[in-house]
Every structure is written in C-alpha cells, then in structure tokens.
C-alpha cells in the first residue's frame, strides 16, 4: 500500500488560511489503512479546524467526505465541490492530483506521501518499494536497495556501514540484509554476478503507462 503521514496541523492551517469554505476529502483505501485520511482522521481534522476557527472568532465551514478511492475518476466524479472555495485532500499525491484535475477550486494536500510499504503492526510501516520501474528484487532476496539503501546503490554495502547499520543511523544497511538473506537461501554467489550500474533512465521515460499502448 501507499503510506502517507498527516502534515502538522499548523502547516494545514497555514495552507487553508484565507479559504472559508473548505471540503475535506478522505480516501477509503491506502489513506484509511495508513491512519492518515480515513473516516476518523477526516472527522477529527475537520473538528480541530472548526474549533480553531471558532477560537479566532471566524465563521468558516469545514465539511467532510470520504471517497472510496481518490486515484480513480469513477469515484472522484462523485465529488461535488461547487459550494466550496477550496478542497483539502487527505490521501496520497495521486489523489491530490486527480481531484485537482476534476474540480475547479484549489486543492491542498493534507498528507505527505512517503513510500509503498508493508504493515509492521498498528500504525507502523516499512518502506519496501519506490516504483523505480526496474525491479531487481529477484536478485536481492526481496530487499529493495533502491528503497532501503540510503544511497540507492546497486552494489553495496558502501564504506558507511558499521555493525550492520547505515551511517545515517536511522536504518539497517540494506546491503547487509541482502547479503544475509541470499546467504541464508544458499545463493550468495549471485551477488558476484552483478556488475552493471542500475538504469535510472527507465523511470524518467515512463511517466505514463497504458496496458494497450505501452509507456509513453
């Protein structure tokens, strides 16, 4: 799933200053599971914004809606934003982009989209995929160097590793994990076969994908 986190309330309030009729739009898919833009988060944020406005003696409208999916026109079509002068989209970047395309008023993001990840228990996720358009997981034991190595290098580890940890201090070294996993699977030798640098041109040449027509 796509993992995102709420922007700080202060930042959201700054974005919305000057807009008095705002529609908060949640997303019933990834944003709900990511505890960032589901029914609960939309209701809580709307209530916090109403409280903030009333404390400032202002009359502002914050209405709320949760779409099943923000990244699909079929569901965004349901959105009627005519009576609002701005939309606060509580989903991933794709949701913000599509809603912006389909309504006439400015759309602001309530979340920062982080990565494609896996659930690690309540409220925790691990970054696993960066949608690089060139999957190497088959050769790296299912651990993505593009995503989990701080440098995204294809032949690690680099000199910044110490006791299995990345020099940044916030993560395990992806390449140590890859070596350990492959050795555990008895196929450590395949690492010595890798010598070509990663092809980072693929992503920049594939901004769009159509199953029938291919990439453009």
């Amino acid at each position: 799933m796509i993992v995102m986190r709420h922007k700080p309330l202060d930042e959201i309030r700054r974005m919305l200053s000057g807009w008095d009729r705002v529609l908060l739009v949640g997303c019933g898919t990834c944003a709900t599971v990511a505890l960032a833009g589901g029914e609960q988060e939309v209701a809580t944020l709307a209530e916090a914004l109403r409280l903030a406005a009333s404390r400032e003696g202002m009359t502002r409208v914050f209405d709320q809606r949760v779409l099943q999916r923000q990244c699909d026109p079929e569901f965004v079509e349901e959105l009627v934003a005519g009576e609002f002068d701005a939309v606060l989209a509580m989903g991933c970047g794709a949701g913000v982009a599509l809603i912006s395309e389909m309504v006439d008023v400015p759309v602001f993001p309530a979340c920062d989209t982080l990565f494609i990840g896996t659930s690690q228990g309540l409220g925790a996720w691990q970054a696993e995929c960066s949608a690089c358009a060139r999957c190497v997981l088959g050769e790296t034991g299912g651990i993505c160097p593009v995503t989990r190595c701080a440098k995204g290098i294809m032949n690690g580890p680099c000199g910044g590793v110490k006791d299995g940890r990345c020099e940044l201090g916030d993560r395990d070294c992806a390449w140590v994990l890859i070596h350990e996993r492959l050795e555990h699977q008895g196929r450590g030798a395949i690492l010595h076969e890798q010598d070509a640098p990663g092809d980072h041109s693929v992503k920049s040449t594939c901004p769009r994908w159509d199953v029938t027509e291919g990439g453009r």
Binding site: D10, G38, Q40, A43, E47, A48, R55
Partner: protein, 153 residues
C-alpha cells in the same frame, strides 16, 4: 477485543461491548448498535445544550471511585473511554465546553485488553492537537480517587 498488534478479534463469549474495536477500526466498519460515535456525540450535545464554559467529564464505567471534579460539570459515563474519540472531545470544546476531562482510565480496573494502552495514544494525539491550538489546559486526565478521598466525601 483489540489485540496488542492492533488487530481485532470478536469472541461472543468474552465480548463486553466496550466498543474498543469500533473505536479503533480505521475504516469505521465496525459499529455497535446504539453506541456509535454519532450517538456519543449526540449525547454530548444534549448534555452541553448551549451551556458555555462547563466542564465535560468522560467517565470510565469500570472505575468505582471516580475522582471529584470541581466546577460546573456534566458527566458522560461510558463503558470504555475509548468511545470518547478525539473528534468527540474536540466537538465538545467547539460546542462550548471549557474543558474535557477523561476520568478513571486505570489499568487496575480495566476489563478490556489493551484499552489503557490505546487510550494513551488517543490522549497523546489529542494533547498534540490542543497544543497547536494553544488549548493545553482544556484537557485534563484524571485517574482514580484514593480511598481516603472517598471517605472524606
């Protein structure tokens, strides 16, 4: 019931209808008839009824010796304080309550697995929100009154 990892399990034999599962479900797909968040919010609205400046106490139904709260107080007793969501607390403040009190959420009295731990997360998020709005004093969390206090009363 809500497991430690956040997953939800329903077992009719041990269900006390505390509502923790409904409170925790991200998609609000679980509901308890007559005990929905909307119902709790309606009860709050009825209690406050335009009464600006009052204190709203969300009281734990499991705790026998609830602490005394001074001032002009309205009390809403819930089977579990998890039922008083962040949204409900913010709505109470927006509807004129001067402060909200979460009273009696005490591990020793709790009948529901992990409810106290989940409650701590709710309170922490609510505190963060109120801090941004410079309303820190609008939230009070009280435990249980001691036996001595009860005796004196």
């Amino acid at each position: 019931m809500v497991n430690a990892d956040g997953s939800v399990r329903f077992d009719a034999q041990i269900c006390h209808a505390c509502g923790a599962c409904a409170a925790e479900c991200p998609a609000q797909a679980i509901s308890l008839e007559g005990h929905s968040e909307e119902e709790t919010m309606r009860r709050v609205e009825r209690l406050l009824d335009g009464d600006v400046g009052a204190t709203l106490v969300f009281a734990c139904g499991c705790t026998p010796n609830l602490p005394w709260v001074p001032g002009h107080v309205h009390t809403l007793t819930l089977t579990c304080l998890l039922r008083a969501s962040e949204t409900t607390a913010l709505m109470a403040l927006h509807n004129g309550a001067a402060r909200v009190v979460f009273a009696g959420c005490v591990e020793a009295n709790c009948r529901y697995p992990h409810a106290r731990e989940l409650m701590d997360r709710h309170i922490s998020r609510l505190k963060d929100t109120l801090a941004v709005l410079t309303m820190e004093s609008a939230l009070v969390v009280l435990g249980e009154s001691s036996e001595e206090d009860v005796h004196l009363r």
